[in-house]
């Protein structure tokens, strides 16, 4: 299945205006983790928290909704959230942990849960993982190149970055800057070119912008647990939904992109194998 296993596909967004204001898309990640925290399904969540430097995240063990909200918005560079999971169950003392992860991080998490080397008593404490769609990720220096050199702006001026409609966008107070996505090619980390998972297939719930209208998200409920948390958050009025087939552009585009990513990755893997390079799959 090109989108992995899922129970429901739905278009959704957080109803809370304060989440909408800071979130990347429909604020689904922030709303779900906050809901899980309020309902004591989790005691805290590892998120990509802010640092002194704009758009340079650092894993944060968030113990309050405010901390979860402080991490809203996509940072298109690495935040080693998996690393902080152990911290969360050790010095932070969490016994029920939630987190947000891109697909490759999810592979790490699920593998770690199956083979808990150096992660004693961690596997069973991970109670809720929200996955986010991911086509590629960039070293921070790449982002600096896009913003400073290609768009002639600066990190400090940038309020939000986004990828969509074939472009890499940077929003400032006054302008909507963009460069064609093609111009970012080669600046992504090399591993992304052999990554076959676009839609975070190993998550409890996964979400991204593709398929949904602006300000909304596409949500795939995958596990029993994930579906139950999502459904309850909808019931509680924290998330509003629209049927996927009622919105444009709809699930088709997501399937197309996911399929494309898999095909390209398989080709690249073949190429690397032929050159004698190691590939993890």
């Amino acid at each position: 299945m090109v989108l992995g296993t899922y129970k429901d596909a739905i278009c959704a967004r957080a109803t809370d205006k304060s989440i909408q204001k800071v979130s990347q898309d429909g604020g689904i990640v922030t709303a779900l983790l906050s809901y899980a925290l309020d309902e004591k399904i989790i005691e805290g969540a590892v998120v990509a928290g802010p640092t002194e430097e704009m758009f340079k995240p650092e894993p944060l063990v968030a113990l309050t909704s405010d901390e979860i909200i402080s991490a809203a918005g996509t940072k298109y560079t690495f935040s080693p959230n998996v690393w902080a999971l152990k911290l969360a169950v050790r010095q932070y003392g969490l016994e029920k942990v939630g987190t947000v992860a891109i697909p490759c991080q999810l592979m790490g998490i699920r593998k770690m849960q199956s083979y808990p080397f150096s992660t004693r008593f961690l596997a069973d404490k991970i109670k809720f993982v929200v996955g986010i769609f991911c086509m590629e990720n960039f070293p921070y220096a790449s982002l600096e190149t896009f913003i400073n050199e290609k768009m002639h702006s600066s990190m400090d001026m940038t309020l939000k970055m986004d990828i969509g409609k074939g472009k890499f966008w940077a929003y400032t107070d006054e302008e909507e800057l963009s460069i064609p996505l093609k111009e970012t090619h080669g600046y992504e980390q090399a591993g992304c070119n052999i990554c076959k998972d676009y839609t975070a297939e190993l998550s409890d719930v996964s979400t991204g912008s593709v398929g949904a209208p602006d300000g909304w998200s596409t949500v795939l409920s995958r596990t029993e647990n994930g579906k139950s948390i999502f459904d309850k958050a909808v019931e509680a009025g924290l998330i509003e939904t629209k049927p996927m087939d009622s919105v444009k552009p709809g699930l088709g585009i997501l399937e197309k992109l996911s399929d494309g990513k898999k095909t390209k990755a398989v080709d690249e893997i073949k190429k690397r194998v032929e050159m004698g390079l190691p590939v993890p799959f």
């Binding site: 113990l63 911290l87 050790r90 004693r120």
Partner: protein, 405 residues
């Protein structure tokens, strides 16, 4: 006519050791010799020449029973050599780690002696009680020091990080809830030890008390000038034993000593009993000491305070001493950092101190009690072993170059 009774290896203890008893016609032990037959640990040699931060990481692996005390003794030796001033919170977190770990370790010993003292109908109760105490105690070590067995977050200069308020409150609540369980456990053990009917006077020795502190350990107690170490050949008057024994004999003020729970209780808690029963009683009671200290620390801990000092790893050439009161006695590590590397390292571990004392403690009673006397000390041999078997054929120890300071 004297006969020799040999128990090899002595059982329900960590590592391998042998008890050789000479007995008279009535089976009464006239001479007891106890010695380690576990091969060399060698870790001191491994850390020499390495970066100072390596020492605690390697040396915590000296023993699987006392990884926490060895981590702490090692890190304290390096701290001392580097002249680090530890932040207050780091000291508290280290002491909390040790208190919880020692509580856990004493519980394990009750598991080891269960078949000696626990009747069939109470067996499940006793073993479950051990399990429950261990689970909570190890949870504390996990959270505070990163890992329950080989803690990753005890660092040169302090602790990697403080615990969160949530963690502090959780641990406090759980340890408070553990108090009645530990009290009941201690009562059970005391009762069973009494009912076992150990002969009066069994295992009594009159050696100096080798204990540095009530709970954590005090490096000032360990005066290097009062310490000597001799080879087993010159200690055991049986050449066969002397040849095969794998530990050196450490002496303080020229004599062998007693270390461990009873020594601490006698020196710091006004405990006056001696012998096998006293070992068991003091060990059980000490569980309460550790638990209440752990609770006290969690009460006063400032979770927002820093836990790691700035460290200059180049070193001052000073011989650093780490002295930690491990469950079985004082664990001393000595380290000297020279030009940013470990120049010298030596560990004088708990059971090594007790080995020469334990054998003689079997004397004067029937040899049937011999193994009980040994187990009362809860010996742990693998960390104690200090010299190398060089001839595999006859297991003789012929080189002593690993023991010189």
């Amino acid at each position: 006519m004297s006969e020799k009774i040999v128990i090899s290896p002595t059982s329900r203890q960590e590592g391998h050791a042998e008890l050789v008893m000479e007995v008279d016609d009535e089976g009464i032990v006239t001479k007891g010799r106890y010695f380690s037959i576990t091969p060399v640990r060698g870790l001191e040699k491994m850390v020499t020449g390495k970066a100072p931060e390596t020492a605690p990481v390697f040396c915590q692996r000296i023993c699987g029973v006392c990884p926490v005390p060895h981590t702490l003794a090692s890190v304290e030796a390096i701290d001392d050599s580097l002249d680090v001033d530890l932040p207050k919170s780091a000291k508290l977190l280290r002491e909390l780690t040790l208190s919880a770990s020692n509580l856990n370790s004493h519980a394990i010993h009750h598991f080891l002696i269960a078949t000696d003292i626990v009747p069939e109908e109470l067996f499940a109760t006793a073993v479950n009680s051990v399990g429950e105490i261990r689970k909570t105690a190890q949870y504390v070590v996990d959270m505070v020091a990163g890992e329950g067995i080989h803690p990753s977050d005890v660092r040169v200069g302090g602790m990697a990080r403080n615990i969160s308020e949530l963690a502090r409150r959780k641990l406090y609540t759980r340890l408070k809830a553990l108090v009645p369980k530990v009290n009941a456990h201690v009562d059970l053990i005391l009762d069973l030890v009494e009912k076992k009917g150990f002969p009066k006077g069994l295992g009594v020795v009159n050696q100096p008390l080798f204990a540095s502190a009530n709970i954590y350990g005090d490096r000032n107690f360990f005066d290097l000038d009062r310490f000597t170490e001799i080879m087993p050949e010159s200690w055991y008057d049986d050449p066969e034993v002397g040849k095969r024994a794998c530990t050196t004999i450490p002496l303080f003020d020229g004599v062998n000593v007693e270390a461990g729970p009873r020594a601490r209780a006698a020196k710091f808690r006004g405990f006056t009993e001696k012998g096998v029963i006293a070992q068991h009683v003091s060990r059980a009671l000490e569980m309460k000491t550790y638990l209440s200290r752990a609770i006290e620390i969690l009460d006063e801990l400032d979770t927002s305070a820093p836990t790691l000092a700035d460290v200059d790893f180049r070193g001052t050439n000073k011989l650093g001493v780490g002295a930690i009161e491990a469950p079985r006695g004082l664990d001393v590590h000595l380290a000297q950092v020279v030009d940013g590397k470990v120049g010298f390292y030596s560990a004088l571990v708990p059971t090594t101190w007790n080995i020469p004392t334990m054998g003689t403690a079997t004397e004067g009673f029937h040899h049937e009690w011999g193994a009980h006397v040994i187990r009362a000390y809860d010996p742990c041999l693998s960390c104690a072993t200090h010299v190398m078997v060089v001839d595999d054929e006859d297991k003789s120890v012929v080189k002593d170059e690993m023991v010189r300071i």
